[in-house]
């Protein structure tokens, strides 16, 4: 088992985490173009060096309000399927990414967490109101809980593609 690392971030009052290997980069530019008629969680489109990124707000899928843009707002750009494929093949990650280029809009970025020997616990039945369906586990930090998210379903839900898996 590799030494798992998680990028932790703040969404509303929660500290959430995703596998660092799924993240391509974190950018400060949240100056996205809003797109009318898009699913509510799709906040808009962003130009990342010529690539169009769909900026997704995980709020609605997690039962939280939409993000307010503030000075600490960041966008977590996820890796594309092509980038994740080798990791998947090597068994380093076990989540298939969605087909489109997605950036997660978050309220703030926190530390990279390395649970180490302590490991990741199974998710509790109810983690501060977040549906257990979306959780892969919990890391007990000194002062609070880090909720590890399962991304695929969340993202599909956010993109309005639940049930119809998009793959490129």
């Amino acid at each position: 088992m590799r030494d798992q690392q998680y990028v932790s971030f703040v969404l509303d009052r929660h500290l959430l985490g995703i596998d660092i290997l799924l993240v391509r980069e974190i950018i400060r530019n949240v100056d996205f173009t809003p797109v009318a008629k898009a699913p509510p969680a799709v906040r808009g489109l962003l130009n990342l060096r010529g690539q169009i990124i769909t900026v997704l707000d995980l709020g609605p899928a997690l039962g939280l309000p939409l993000r307010e843009i503030g000075p600490d707002s960041r966008c977590l750009i996820l890796k594309s399927p092509a980038e994740t494929a080798p990791l998947l093949a090597a068994g380093l990650v076990d989540e298939e990414p969605v087909g489109e280029a997605v950036g997660l809009l978050v309220d703030a970025i926190s530390d990279v967490v390395r649970p180490g020997e302590q490991g990741v616990d199974a998710p509790p039945a109810n983690a501060n109101g977040i549906d257990t369906d979306h959780l892969r586990g919990v890391v007990r930090l000194e002062d609070r809980l880090l909720l590890i998210l399962g991304l695929r379903k969340l993202i599909e839900e956010g993109l309005g593609q639940r049930g119809q898996v998009a793959r490129v």
Binding site: V42, G50, G160
Partner: protein, 966 residues
């Protein structure tokens, strides 16, 4: 299978498919019959192709393909050795064989499950046939065959000995493999030169082939993206520099002002100090003043040092930017070109298709394909396959008559189908032309009525051309019965939708009894499209230019541009027709709460097929070539976007889907609207909408009121009656050092003459005519700006354009050209070559922005003129120099690279051959400065871009003027 093998396999499949594709036309040619030499050449080529496939598949253990290829190869070998004649059944089975191989390759993993027994069964006779003939001479080969382990079930062809050999050469053997050489030894014994020949052909073939490398589309797409990024970076850099320049300029101005203020203060102080020296008001004050002066001097020197560095002082900055610009554009174009595919990919399939279809229909067709080399973006080529297929099937099914029917009407038995591809005006045209029975408008009308697409009354109103267009109506299919070939429920409407979704258009031209020609116009690429940027509620959107018909600016207080409500929907009258409207902001649900109606709003008139609607936006920003980025999947359901693009400032803008928006808005384009649009171009709308500035005057007090467009008047002189001199029956006025002939309207027109002679008169001197005549007026009443509908019927006669109501009074519009012609027939004779009628005019359009070029071309063409469009002044001048007689007018942009519009005009005016060609200059900014520069250079008229009506009016007017003038 390891990674290497997988890649090899993918490579092999692609390569084998290429071979199959190349073999097909050769097989067809073989069937058609060729000279023995040609036949041999064809057979050799096909043989090499199938042999390569066999070798490759053998190497990777795809035995089913290998065996089938081997069987086919064996038949070909017999043809090569002249033991078999090429027959139609042979070509048939070989074609089927290539199909079967294709099927196997399509799913290599399951190639073995594809059943090919029928092909083998049909191949066997040929194999057996040749064998029989060979036997007598074949003692040795039989032994060779016997010696080889027979691992195959079928007999009659040479068995495979080593199915998995790595060293098998790819193309026909320079060093033949054992089994082949055994075969060669047997079959080609009588002609020992043959193998060497084959090898020679291969070698020369290889030498001549262009250097080609297979590149993954994926990689090209990435390169394309990078080039796009580079373009963006360049744009951003240019913008930043631009800002910096203006900041620097502004900064300099501030510094200069500060400096002069300080200098002034110094000077004043000096004066005060100097002035006070004589007095005894105290040295203290003087000392203080001197201190202040020192401080000021110091300040001045600081300011001088702090002057911002000028960008323009960076050596070579400008040249570098120009260079970067050029390289970037060039790079992008070239990368785009790598995505281009020749249309042969599609056309290459036609012979086979025609062959099959003509058999099914019992029709005889001769196919003539031209323009195989024309290239299009890969994605367009791919998307074109179905529509092209459909059109070809249509021709075969409905277009061509049966051979007997053709003979009965005196046509050759076999029909001719021309398929052409060619470039025209930056687009690719594809034409499909048959010499069949043509589309019968009467039948189309009847069908359309029968299917309830239009009413009988509407059908009667349509002219034949419009009737033919009904084939594009949804739900229309002329097939009397659903046939196997076309008419499978996919109609021409689908074809048109497909073509339009590619940014193209389709036209049909048909003559009963003679044939039908369908023309597709397609863009070269979908990756970069010209577009118009608009803004609604602060957001920017791109509208593909191909869907844009025209722009209308709504101004307040213009009744003719009012937005009206019809059954709860907003519409606008455009040239007398109702145009359904869609408010972009409401449609997208992005209206700002409490936003009041804006002062100036634009309506972009968009077209989808036969229909048009107006999209109301707040602002029209610019036209730009945009790089189309695929729409993220999550936005596809919105249906109102065709894609996304990245703007010069790095932000994302959505590309609007013109058809989708019409759908969402639920626009119902009624037949009435459509019928109304059909007669849209019928003329005279210009007269209705044109706003003119008119001089109103009278020839006699209380007589008729006349109007003359101010644009036609050079000046109005007030003269004393005594200054007019008579020579014979003619009157003259001394004017600008010469004499000007005068005319009185009542001498030439049936109008009231003044009863007495006034002491003072007005002389109206027209401009833009070669031999001006002064028109004598008794009273100059007013100058008004009015939109008048000129009635040409009420008051008519030579020298009269017509009549109209101005401020409630009937006014006669003068036609000075007609008038002058009547007055001085010797000078104003009709004998000129230049055309006055716009419909016959040939216009050279110079415009560097492709968007404007396309729009202006369309505008002018809509008037009926022929337009040749070029990209800059230099090209225009080249064309003019080559054939000065080819153009009746030049319409030019002012700002252009290489040679701008002013320089072009100066060239034209400076050349004796061209001096008479009228020039209309276009600009996006109607500044007076520009106008003056243009007039100084010698343009006849100056017009603002994209004002369709005014441009049309100006062109008409200038042509008429020049006509009169010549």
């Amino acid at each position: 299978m390891d990674m290497d093998d997988r890649e090899l396999l993918a490579e092999l499949v692609v390569e084998s498919q290429d071979h199959l594709t190349a073999m097909e036309p050769d097989l067809l040619a073989l069937e058609k019959g060729a000279s023995p030499d040609e036949t041999m050449e064809l057979v050799n080529r096909i043989f090499r192709g199938i042999h390569s496939i066999k070798g490759g598949c053998g190497f990777l253990g795809i035995t089913s393909v290998q065996e089938l290829a081997h069987a086919m190869e064996s038949v070909l070998m017999k043809v090569r050795s002249r033991r078999l004649e090429v027959t139609r059944p042979m070509v048939d089975v070989l074609l089927d064989g290539t199909d079967r191989v294709r099927t196997m390759l399509a799913d290599v993993a399951n190639a073995g499950t594809v059943d090919a027994t029928d092909v083998y069964r049909r191949l066997d006779p040929f194999l057996a046939e040749g064998e029989a003939a060979v036997v007598p001479a074949a003692t040795e080969p039989v032994a060779a065959s016997d010696a080889a382990p027979t691992g195959t079930r079928r007999s009659g062809y040479i068995p495979l000995t080593t199915p998995n050999r790595a060293d098998e050469p790819e193309i026909a053997p320079a060093v033949p493999d054992p089994e082949l050489s055994a075969a060669a030894a047997v079959r080609e014994m009588p002609e020992p030169a043959e193998p060497a020949d084959a090898a020679g052909v291969v070698a020369s073939h290889r030498g001549a082939a262009p250097d080609v490398l297979r590149v993954k589309v994926d990689l090209l797409n990435r390169l394309m993206n990078l080039a796009g990024e580079l373009v963006l970076a360049r744009n951003q850099l240019l913008q930043a520099l631009d800002r910096r320049f203006s900041e620097t300029a502004a900064g300099e101005a501030v510094f200069a002002a500060t400096r002069s203020a300080v200098a002034e203060a110094q000077q004043r102080l000096r004066e005060v100090v100097d002035g006070s020296t004589g007095r005894s008001t105290g040295d203290e004050a003087k000392e203080r003043s001197e201190q202040i002066e020192r401080v000021l001097a110091e300040l001045a020197s600081h300011i001088a040092q702090a002057l911002p560095g000028r960008l323009s002082e960076l050596p070579g900055m400008n040249a570098t930017m120009v260079n970067l610009d050029a390289v970037t554009t060039n790079l992008q174009e070239n990368i785009m070109r790598t995505r281009m595919q020749s249309i042969e990919t599609l056309f290459g399939k036609l012979p086979r298709q025609i062959r099959q279809l003509s058999r099914q229909t019992g029709k005889e067709i001769e196919l003539v394909v031209t323009g195989n080399e024309v290239e299009l973006d890969k994605s367009i080529v791919e998307a074109l396959s179905d529509p092209l297929n459909h059109l070809i099937r249509n021709s075969l099914d409905h277009g061509f008559e049966a051979p007997l029917a053709r003979e009965a009407v005196g046509k050759p038995r076999s029909g001719r189908l021309d398929v052409r591809a060619f470039h025209e005006g930056g687009q690719v045209n594809i034409e499909i032309q048959d010499d069949g029975r043509g589309i019968d408008p009467a039948r189309i009308r009847a069908k359309a009525v029968e299917k309830g697409i239009i009413t009988a009354e509407q059908a009667a109103r349509l002219d034949d051309r419009e009737a033919v267009l009904l084939v594009f109506a949804p739900g229309f299919s002329t097939a009397e019965r659903v046939s196997d070939i076309s008419g499978r429920g996919v109609g021409m409407d689908v074809v048109r939708t497909n073509i339009e979704s590619l940014g193209g258009s389709i036209e049909i031209d048909s003559q009963v009894g003679i044939g039908t020609r369908t023309r597709l116009k397609l863009p070269l690429t979908l990756a970069i499209i010209p577009s118009l940027l608009v803004r609604a509620c602060g957001r920017r959107f791109a509208v593909p230019q191909v869907s844009l018909d025209e722009l209308v600016r709504l101004r307040r207080g213009r009744d003719d541009q009012r937005i009206e409500q019809v059954q709860g929907a907003e519409v606008m009258r455009l040239r007398g027709h109702l145009l359904p409207l869609v408010r972009l902001s409401s449609l997208l649900g992005i209206e700002e709460a409490g936003a009041t109606e804006r002062q100036a709003t634009y309506v972009a008139v968009l077209k989808t097929g036969e229909n048009r609607y107006g999209l109301i936006v707040d602002e029209v920003l610019d036209s730009e070539e945009i790089v189309v980025k695929q729409l993220p999947g999550s936005l596809k359901d919105a249906r109102c976007y065709a894609g996304a693009t990245i703007m010069g400032d790095g932000s994302v803008a959505m590309i609007l889907d013109v058809l989708g928006i019409a759908d969402i808005a639920g626009l119902r384009f009624t037949e009435i609207a459509r019928a109304a649009q059909a007669d849209d171009s019928t003329e005279s709308y210009l007269d209705r909408t044109e706003s003119q500035t008119l001089l109103l005057f009278r020839n006699a007090p209380g007589g008729e009121r006349f109007a003359l467009n101010l644009a036609l008047i050079s000046r109005i002189e007030k003269v004393a009656a005594g200054d007019i001199q008579r020579v014979g029956s003619k009157e003259y006025l001394r004017f600008q050092g010469g004499s000007l002939r005068l005319l009185r309207l009542h001498d030439h027109l049936p109008v009231q003459a003044p009863v007495d002679e006034a002491a003072e008169l007005y002389v109206i001197i027209p401009k833009l005519v070669k031999h001006p005549l002064g028109i004598i007026a008794r009273e100059c009443e007013d100058v008004v700006s009015a939109r008048v509908e000129v009635d040409r019927d009420n008051v008519r006669g030579t020298g009269i354009l017509g009549s109209g109501m101005i401020n409630g009074d009937l006014t006669v519009f003068l036609d000075i050209y007609g008038l002058f012609e009547a007055a001085e027939p010797e000078i104003y004779r009709q004998g000129d070559r230049r055309v006055a009628r716009v419909e016959q005019a040939r216009i050279l359009l110079a415009e560097d922005t492709s968007f404007f070029r396309a729009v202006e071309k369309k505008y002018i063409e809509a008037m009926g003129a022929t337009v040749t469009a070029v990209k800059d002044g230099r090209e225009a001048w080249r064309l003019l120099s080559e054939s000065p007689e080819s153009f009746d007018m030049v319409v030019t942009d002012i700002e252009m690279p290489l040679m701008d519009g002013l320089e072009l005009t100066r060239h034209i005016r400076g050349s004796a051959r061209h001096a008479a060609i009228p020039v209309v200059a276009l600009t996006s900014l109607g500044s007076d400065e520009n106008r003056e520069a243009g007039l100084a250079a010698g343009v006849n008229a100056y017009e603002v871009k994209l004002d369709k009506d005014r441009l049309a009016a100006t062109i008409r007017q200038v042509l008429e003027e020049v006509h009169a003038h010549a």
